[in-house]
């Protein structure tokens, strides 16, 4: 039957396109992990094994960078800002758009949406947020300040790349 051939061929083509999309979103997940690791290493190198215990949430616009120092190591993570009662950050619609048609579009589209936002605006917002923390939060220890300053330095090339 000719219809069987035509339909099965078209379904195969559609599947290939969908698999390619899945691969791209997975690649974004891998890059986000790499990025997190890079910044975590920067923070770890700046931390000299002191006794500070601190969790710092840095506001990057629609994204957040969290630096956690539980006293024994330094952990860093990127996340999406939680939904407000009356307002949803724009990044949520971006996440849904990127993974439209997936079973969990907000989960699948999240890494690329974070990365894209980070490069466009997030890095610059994070630099501002770090400056603010260092300037205004008097109770931060020297060690935490040093970690934040190093993370800020590491963010600089990304901010510069976004401007050019």
């Amino acid at each position: 039957m000719e219809e069987v051939e035509v339909l099965s061929e078209k379904i195969k083509e559609l599947m290939e396109a969908m698999v390619e999309r899945e691969d791209l979103l997975e690649e974004a997940g891998r890059i986000l992990k790499e990025l997190k690791k890079l910044f975590q290493n920067v923070a770890r190198e700046a931390w000299r094994g002191g006794a500070s215990r601190e969790t710092v949430h840095l506001d990057g616009g629609d994204i957040l960078m969290t630096i956690e120092i539980p006293g024994s190591a330094v952990y860093l993570s990127f996340s999406v800002k939680p939904r407000d009662c009356d307002k949803e950050p724009e990044i949520y619609s971006e996440m849904r758009r990127l993974a439209k048609g997936f079973r969990y579009p907000e989960d699948d589209g999240m890494p690329l949406a974070i990365l894209h936002y980070f490069v466009r605006r997030g890095a610059a917002e994070l630099v501002k947020s770090i400056d603010e923390k260092i300037r205004e939060e008097k109770e931060l220890t020297e060690e935490v300040r040093r970690v934040l300053a190093e993370v800020k330095n590491a963010l600089a090339p990304v901010v510069l790349a976004a401007k050019t």
Binding site: S8, K10, E13, A17, R21, A162
Partner: protein, 181 residues
């Protein structure tokens, strides 16, 4: 009432029953042909996609104005189902009334029947021949066209996603470089 009179009354009734029986037979045959078509399509797809492809498939659904094609992969098993969309409701209602078969609302979602929303499901034996008729009269071609357009749309989006990833990679490359120094 005499036997003759009863016989006279029964004769037209028998004729009606014969006609309804014929309609039922057509519907049963249409259902059979449709299943064969689904089976052939599933077989051809399994051959093209291979086990890995079937595993990765999940559920895929495309539709024309009257017919929906659903392809679902469960481990290495693949099922293909043609069902009616709400666009076929009036045709089915009309044909069912004409041939004396039922068109009824059901409490369960019928596999081939019409699902208007979560609570409005309709089923009728005339749906199978109507789906076949639609497929033969260009519906299959339109489904292929819908699939082609969808693939082209996703490919376009993939190009955008790829470009976004390259932009990100470029922007973070100084960082990656610095970490390697």
């Amino acid at each position: 009432m005499s036997e003759d009179e009863i016989e006279k009354l029964l004769q037209p009734l028998e004729e009606v029953v014969e006609k309804v029986k014929d309609s039922v037979e057509v519907c049963v045959r249409a259902e059979y042909v449709l299943r064969e078509f689904e089976r052939a399509l599933a077989h051809a797809l399994c051959e093209r996609l291979g086990d890995e492809g079937v595993r990765a498939l999940g559920e895929l659904s495309v539709e024309t104005e009257k017919v929906r094609l659903t392809v679902a992969g469960h481990e290495t098993r693949l099922t293909v189902t043609f069902s009616a969309t709400p666009g076929m409701k009036k045709d089915a209602e009309r044909l069912a009334a004409r041939v004396g078969l039922y068109f009824r609302r059901t409490s369960y979602p019928p596999p081939r029947g019409i699902r208007e929303d979560d609570f409005k499901n309709y089923d009728s034996p005339v749906i199978a021949p109507l789906i076949l008729e639609h497929l033969v009269e260009g519906g299959a071609e339109r489904l292929a066209e819908v699939l082609k357009n969808k693939a082209a749309e996703i490919e376009g989006e993939n190009a955008l996603l790829g470009a976004a990833i390259r932009t990100v990679e470029k922007a973070i490359s100084p960082l990656v470089l610095a970490s390697k120094l």
